[in-house]
């Protein structure tokens, strides 16, 4: 695996490298070089399977982190390729030519995060939300509770605990001291 990282590092600039388990690795690459890395991994290194493609919203840094999860059937290794893109007018190159089924993930991300993938087939179609008119709901600045109260009728008499306070009290006594989860490239 280290040799693989070295080989890739020779080709392009690798922003970060993280070994989570013996069979789970993450690399962070530049946005412009993603397609190059992915096609290299697929064609030359045997990572033929795209398991999933998902996004994380780093609201504080105004960035989306996309993770392309690859799998190599020969050496049985998971490799996550991460890439950071800007949050405003988020746009990413489509990889549906490398893996045909990626269009479905891209359609989902387009709907739930508002990340645009130009050229990806059927990307504008609604995936789980039919007739959605608000901002993409998985963005962290979307207030889902406020939306729910505004749209769906509340039944009076429901009592609820604030999850953050409740979990702090019950489970994480020293919540304030616990470190924030860092990105790989920080």
């Amino acid at each position: 695996m280290e040799q693989l990282v070295k080989r890739i590092n020779g080709m392009i600039h690798l922003k970060a490298y993280n070994r989570q388990r013996d069979d789970l690795f993450f690399i962070t690459v530049e946005k412009s070089q993603l397609e190059l890395v992915l096609s290299h991994l697929k064609n030359n290194e045997g990572f033929t399977h795209l398991a999933f493609l998902q996004a994380v919203d780093f609201l504080e840094d105004s960035k989306f982190q996309l993770t392309y999860m690859l799998y190599n059937y020969d050496i049985r290794v998971n490799l996550g390729v991460k890439v950071l893109i800007g949050r405003d007018k988020a746009e990413m190159t489509s990889i549906h030519k490398l893996w045909a089924h990626a269009w479905q993930y891209q359609r989902e991300l387009h709907e739930l995060f508002g990340i645009n993938f130009p050229g990806s087939p059927r990307v504008e179609e609604s995936f789980v939300l039919e007739g959605w008119e608000e901002m993409p709901p998985m963005r962290r600045d979307f207030d889902t509770k406020e939306y729910s109260e505004r749209t769906f009728y509340q039944r009076p008499g429901r009592s609820t605990n604030d999850p953050k306070e409740y979990m702090k009290e019950k489970m994480y006594k020293n919540y304030a001291a616990s470190p924030r989860i860092r990105r790989d490239d920080e």
């Binding site: 789980v128 039919e130 007739g131 729910s148 009728y153 039944r155 008499g157």
Partner: protein
Amino acid sequence: MNRKHIDEIEKQMKLANEGLPEEERKFFADVIPTRVDPFNKYWEQFLNWARSRSLWMLAFGTGCGATELRPLMTSRFDMARFGIFPRPTPRQASVFVVGGYASIKTIKRIIRSYEQMQGPKYVIALGSCTINGGMYYDSYNTINRLDYYIPVDVYIAGCMPRPEALIAGFNRLKEKIVAGECEGMNEYTDKFDWFKKNQKEIIKDWNMPDYNW
């Protein structure tokens, strides 16, 4: 009253079906459903007795609660001994079991299925999600109260309710049917405008007929 007025009134009495494209509107019914009252009190009591002993359930797994319907059908809990049978099509079913949370995409199908069911129809809403949203009370995509969209006869609380609770709910429904309290079909037609207003408020792309016969 001249011809123009009559046309105007007739137009108001019909459903607009505005969600459909122009050329498809003629394929669907545009009649507003009307109230159908029982024929005779004592005859209706007899029919209700028979209906309560032969409940045909629409097995439409709308949420995670549908998981609890499978053990109900099989040998451990065996709902057939209560006269409850799964039925594959809404046309023939009389009980609609809404299995848990209903997202907006699902509530569209729930409404279509409910409206396609015939005659006296009953709704059992299972799980907390249908009562007040349950653990999805603050979700952007799931409704909180089912009774704003279709009339509900029996709620079964729990997350998820066990099959025993479901059997108790079905028995409660039977008692209500025998007592003649389950008139959800007429409630729906009486408050048709109110239900439609609520439904259209959350279903933004209404691309189906206003009433699905």
